[in-house]
Assembly symmetry: C2
Homo-oligomer: 891 residues x 2
């Protein structure tokens, strides 16, 4: 039979699975000889048994009894003893912190007899009766499931106009009687006077609270396994509210904002921990404890130093002083700001507490990303117009502009601009590049604006639905009727989603400057530099960039990219070249089609030449054209309305060009748009399917790649086929590409995206024809879940996150169980066919911390992400390698 | 070292893997003591070695030499011996027949010396020189890769105005010299005079032909593995063209059209097999051989009887008579018509050659389906207007109508109608039900019209692109300017795609009548009856129907359905109820939404009551509403144009209702359509996602199911959630459904579709919350391949089939490697979680023979298909069980 109960002297901090976080740390402190109130922990395993079988395991009751006896002996009094009662708290404590989610019952052991003993021992009648009142209230609500408001209402009625503190012992005695009446009436039983019964029922209530709806929801959202269960701690009560020589406090072992050593904390005299949380009275800085109780203060500082040395990290603690005596109630590794995390990690190295490997694991890519964005210095002087979604972090101020053209025009004059649109589309790309920030009134965090802005590392607030954007009038209207016209200055905060009128001063990030090549001067930047160097030396994953232009490629190199993992070619067909694509689509003869392709080829050759030049000998993976061709045509509905109105107005004057400008080309375009219209374009004629059905299209691109590779010394081209689902597709386009490369005398690896579920499922076959795989996890996620990203986020992702269907959007972090399983299959079976197969990822997940870890675990060779995310990916790749090495799983 | 060469005396018919089909059957006949020209087979394993390593395996040359020596000894002459040469043919012969795909070289052994010997021995100079000419021509083309037209052109030039037969020996001798010159010039070498060199080179050429482009393409299309290789047969030549006592023929051991015993075949005197194929001269019925050569005739009949007894099946054979002596050149199990297959299978049982198990495996579901459709008796009297795609088989004649309303109206008067549309949509359902057949000018075999018609077992020709359909004018125009107005009679043939003017008489199928309950009277129907009974007793899979109406449910029962596997509820919201769905969508308050749901609920209750009543105690799986709600709204573009035109015309008269009828509701609808518009509706807000985001929708349906189940004695409801991708989704809607069922006191199983790849990948988790899985292989195929069925078929499926990317559309037969792998995973992991999990399929694949076999193999409990396909599914389920039992794999 397993051991279900551990005295605090029996556990340690590594037993969190069994004892929960709170219990393990209480045991650790006990073993360090620190003043922890005695107690014991009932294991999560007992909870799991209880939840599975609907009852406590055999022998648990006896085991609790033995440990209670030891506790009573140690304290020299018995639970609920009439003349001098031992009181205990029963507290939940799961492996992962679930703040406020689960139950706690204090003051167990009080009844009509022992309340008198407590009053006598404490010399404080009011304290004793107030404790008894609290027990019945908490027990009634938590254990007996009585609506908590009934107690509160009854209390309010008794108080009348008075405050809580105005109630004296006699008042509280009446409250106790009333509360007992509520229990009797609502629970159909008396409040149990037997202390052991109180304790046993409280333990069960804590077990049950694991499956309370709010706890289930929290676990879904935080992705905490549902079957872990919670441990229960039974701790001797100590009281910080026994008079002026008592009190309670919280403290950090160093400054959680900067990492600097020192005394940081708060103290509240004559109070319990709950009072600090409730904020009833003002706390004082912890330093004042030195005056109040110099002995306890010195002892506390010593304990904090001990804990920090022992945990080798910032700790946060809770303590209580009962009549001058210090008791430690909790400790855990403390939260900290991003800047403090980096500084503290290197400080601890310099203090000899940890090594550089450990330092790298103490910081996260999210923290690094936070440090790279500019911020608003102060916003108090500006009117907040509205708050949208914080789609891409940073802060930006500039003149509002309502079209891409205007953004480019003003930016060319050196003006800072914010591009404001209802929503953006690929035609807005030039404007987005020119703008300091992007603001949209529609679309969620995965809308075009958000995705592209994040890719560029550009500040973006999207879905600011309160704004009425009128692009024709070049203005938007905010709540309260505030009108912002083109040229008016606004400021947007990508970290909070706030939109301000006027210019808010922006502070540039020294960490971003460091990555752009500036020397490391302040403490934070030096810390970042040391940690990045160590992460780079530790990581196994290479880091590449997704970059479509020489400018992006340049930045990628500066940020440390070791190649381009995804160079999309469709962005090269926008702007003025769109007309050539229209010609290609409108072509009705092979000759006309070839003429359109011939016109595009030299432009493409120029594109690739620029990128090869920028990457100076590093590999460049070029993906042949992927989107459906109709994406290059005008919108069906707009065009249909235009042509219909034009026809209607022209009336009986056929052939007349109308004032709306609908002409013959519009009509031919409308025909083409209708012909090419797709119900579900994402699942239509695109990617390799275009290559197989539009003669000459892929060939033109491969010829352009070959020509550019011949022009640039040391160019390393890798040609990637999009949307392959069957090896047969790849074989056919590969044959054509190889022929063209051979004719040009150019060597280039040929590989494929793995972005269709079937490609992953048949990766063993596909590897026969592919020298590399690159996981396109955006599409792979869309198809594996059956989600169209454009449609689902605004429609129901909010509800799904609220309902706990997933804890994080699968477009942000790789869904390991679904999408990740396909990836794992493809890696294993692809390598089985071709041991030297090169494996990478080029979906947006390539810059997401959790996804980088997953990519390391499944053995990819590289991750590729937007240039701005490269530092994050480098850091997380290092952290992943160190975590795996430490876990000993050899992943 | 493996044995690479088998004498015909060493092989047998079961060695097709090694010896190919032809070689194995030649060996079998040799061992039966039949007169087969001696020879030997070089194994497919030698070919595989050659293809893998680019050369023949060590020792092959010697092994061929030994077998050639045996052959020479047996024939009493040597290969190419000058005075009396042994000639051989070198013929390909793969495991699976690839007619015309690979190479053969005849007359090997001839050179400038042996041609004289052949002339002397045959007493026929012309024959000898013609044979030599053929050898050089065939060898030059096949082995040396010379363009065959060069030989044909040279021959034509020498012939001038004369026929082949006008050329004499001297002419042919000149042809030989010319051909040798072509070889020298084009191949850069002399035609090899050494007979053994001829033979070795021919063998290599056959090996190489395995990877000829046409063979690769054929294999892709027929899904023949690319690495099988071909065997090569070296056979002593016999000549049917040595004079009037020689000849060649083909025969069947019984009538391939009816299965009746008798003599069926053709004979051609003084000719080679190639001449029969080329159709140069007319053959005579085989019976005439009795007069020409009674001895050979009797011998042949005896051999045919032997072969049929031996193969226990219809055989087709090729034979040659050389100077009165009969030689057997080939045999194989012969092809037959659908009717013959059924009759013959039961005949062979009655003759004691096979048992009923075997008889069931001798027929196919496709053959049964063919027998169930009505056909046109004769079409000669009718003008063929055009030919479209044969989308759903059968034959139908009736008045052309151009709208669903008109179809219903005329059908109600008892008129037969053909619904003619550009394309159909769900609103045409009533018209399709009312019509005898459906004709569309757009869309492919997976268009709405095709899919729905196949589902109904209704004749459909779709994509008849030559027709210009004008629904407003109620007419269509066919090529040649033929105009068909509403009310004119047309006839459509779903088997050929032909469209005729006027009424073509239709013959009903006796097999279909049998399934409708008529007694089995003729031989064919009795055979079908016996085979169906045996298949039913053998099968392990249950067969259910996809049926949404009481009428479909009734037919399904008649056809043998054991339940409903898919009752879609969205069809119940069409027609006049569409307005209620619009109300639901336009609702802006919870009260308005609930009012719309309250109006739908009694109608739904009525729907389910009808279906439960029709199924009288058999299980009915009801899928809650699946499609996106905007599918119930008008088309965005049409509505936008209507509202724009209305607004334009109303000019400055706002609020005026225009002649186009655009009113306020239209404008509100347009707003709703725009709001709900999705880029990729298939991957948008539908299925369980609706249930989770539209309060009360699923609850309304579950309440209706519960109410109906209470009304109908013995109703067995199973509630199925659509589009589940994560167990969390299912848990939430399941909780709600269970609560409603419990309140109503109704028991119903709750399960889920597995139609999203992630559902299959996480089936182990999903099974925790599902009592059954039903594979929705339509959507699963779409998402696994990344194909939108509405878009891809017309756009590129034709090209994909031509290119051999797949041999059959994955929407017709389950793609075993991709989609099938997911299904297998889901079955294994679902059952591991819940051993009693019920597993079925309700995609269209449930009625596809190959897919039924797959479903049996992976261990499903049932297949569900359209009522009309139920007999096919029953038969194939029986065949699958028998095939698995026979294979001994225990699948």
């Amino acid at each position: 039979m397993p051991k279900y109960v551990y005295d605090f002297t029996e556990g340690n901090k590594d037993l969190k699975d069994l004892l929960g976080g709170k219990g393990a740390n209480l045991a650790e402190m006990t073993n360090l000889g620190l003043p922890v109130p005695p107690g014991f922990t009932i294991t999560a395993e007992a909870c799991r048994h209880y939840l599975r079988h609907g009852g406590t395991p055999d022998g648990l009751e006896g085991e609790i009894g033995e440990h209670l006896a030891v506790l009573e002996a140690r304290m020299g009094k018995r639970l609920g003893q009439a003349d001098d009662p031992l009181l205990v708290s029963v507290r939940s404590g799961a492996k992962f912190s679930m703040p406020g989610m689960m139950e706690t019952v204090l003051d167990i052991g009080l009844n009509d007899d022992s309340v008198l003993g407590l009053a006598k021992q404490s010399g404080n009648d009011r304290f004793a009766w107030d404790s008894y009142r609290r027990l019945i209230q908490m027990f009634g609500k938590t254990v007996l499931g009585i609506d908590g408001e009934l107690f509160e209402d009854a209390m309010d009625e008794l108080k009348g106009e008075r405050d809580d503190t105005d109630l004296d012992a006699a008042d509280l005695q009446r409250v106790v009687e009333t509360f007992k009446g509520i229990v009797r009436e609502r629970a159909g039983r008396d409040f149990p006077a037997d202390p052991r019964e109180q304790m046993d029922l409280a333990v069960r209530a804590v077990f049950d609270s694991w499956n309370a709806p709010r706890a289930i929801l929290y676990r879904r959202q935080e992705r905490i396994p549902a079957d872990l269960g919670t441990a229960v701690n039974v701790v001797a009560m100590v009281f910080g509210n026994m008079g002026p020589d008592s009190g309670t406090g919280v403290a950090f072992t160093r400054d959680p904002g900067s990492g600097r050593q020192g005394v940081y904390g708060d103290y509240l005299r004559n109070a319990q921990g709950e009072d600090v949380v409730a904020g009833i009275r003002n706390t004082v800085p912890l330093q004042e404890l030195e005056t109040i109780n110099p002995g306890a203060y010195r002892e506390l500082l010593g304990i904090m130093a001990t804990l920090e040395r022992h945990y080798r990290d910032l700790c946060d603690i809770e303590f209580t002083i009962e009549r001058g005596k210090l008791w430690m109630l909790q400790t855990r590794v403390g939260k900290r700001t991003a800047a403090a995390a980096f500084c503290m990690a290197t400080q601890l190295v310099d203090e000899g507490l940890i090594d550089m490997d450990e330092a790298v694991t103490r910081v996260t890519g999210d923290q690094l990303a936070q440090l790279m964005f500019p911020r608003f210095a102060a916003t108090a002087g500006n009117r907040r117009l509205t708050t949208g979604m914080n789609a891409s972090p940073g802060a930006a101020a500039g003149r509002a502009v309502f079209s891409s053209e205007r953004a480019v025009e003003l930016a060319a004059r050196g003006e800072a601009v914010i591009l404001v649109r209802r929503e953006t589309n690929p035609d807005d790309l030039a404007g987005m590049i020119a703008a300091h920030g992007v603001l949209t009134s529609r679309g969620g965090k995965t809308s075009h604006a958000a995705v592209v802005a994040r890719g560029m590392g550009k500040t973006c607030v999207c879905g600011a639905e309160e704004l009425e954007v009128d692009p024709h009038a070049r203005r938007f209207t905010a709540p309260g009727g505030v009108v912002v016209d083109e040229g008016d200055v606004i400021s947007i905060d990508g970290g909070t989603g706030a939109v301000y009128l006027g210019e808010v001063p922006v502070t540039a990030s020294p960490v971003a400057k460091y990555f752009e090549g500036e020397p490391a001067e302040d403490e934070l930047v030096r810390a970042v530099d040391r940690i990045m160097r160590h992460a780079d030396s530790a990581r196994r994953l290479a880091v590449r960039a997704n970059a479509d232009t020489p400018e992006d490629a340049d930045r990628a190199r500066r940020y440390g990219a070791e190649g381009i993992g995804l160079c999309r070619t469709e962005h090269m067909f926008l702007g003025e070249r769109r007309r050539l694509v229209e010609d290609l689509i409108l072509a009705t003869t092979p000759e006309a089609r070839q003429a359109a392709l011939d016109a595009l080829e030299p432009l493409q050759t120029g594109d690739f030449t620029g990128i090869f030049t920028a990457m100076r000998g590093l590999p460049v993976t070029i993906r042949l054209i992927d989107p459906p061709l109709h994406e290059f045509l005008p919108d069906l509905t707009d065009l249909a309305v235009k042509v219909a109105l034009a026809g209607d107005r022209a009336g009986d004057r056929p052939g007349v060009r109308t004032e709306d400008g609908a002409d013959d080309r519009d009509r031919r375009l409308l025909d083409a748009v209708k012909r090419l219209h797709e119900q579900n374009p994402m699942l239509g004629l695109r990617g390799v399917r275009l290559g197989l059905t539009i003669p000459g299209l892929f060939a033109m691109q491969v010829r352009a790649i070959a020509a550019a590779a011949r022009r640039v010394e040391g160019a390393r081209a890798e040609i990637m086929m999009p949307l392959v689902g069957a090896v047969q597709e790849l074989e056919i386009v590969r044959d054509e590409a190889e022929r063209i490369l051979a004719e040009a005398g150019v060597a280039a690896a040929i590989g494929t995206m793995i972005e269709v579920p079937r490609a992953a499922l048949t990766a063993g076959q596909i590897a026969e024809a592919a020298e590399f795989f690159s996981f396109g996890t955006n599409d792979l996620t869309q198809m594996t879940w059956g989600f169209s990203r454009d449609d689902v986020e605004s429609a129901f992702f909010g509800a799904y996150l609220d309902l706990g269907v997933f804890g994080v959007s699968p477009f942000e972090s790789i869904d390991r169980e679904g999408v990740g399983r396909l990836m794992r299959t493809a890696v294993e079976e692809g390598r089985r066919t071709r041991p030297g197969l090169k494996l990478g990822i080029c979906g947006e997940h390539g810059g997401d911390p959790d996804s980088v870890h997953f990519c390391h675990e499944i053995g990819l060779d590289y991750v590729s992400c937007s240039p701005f995310r490269i530092p994050v990916a480098r850091l997380e790749a290092g952290r992943a390698a160190l975590a795996c090495a430490r876990s000993g799983t050899g992943c």
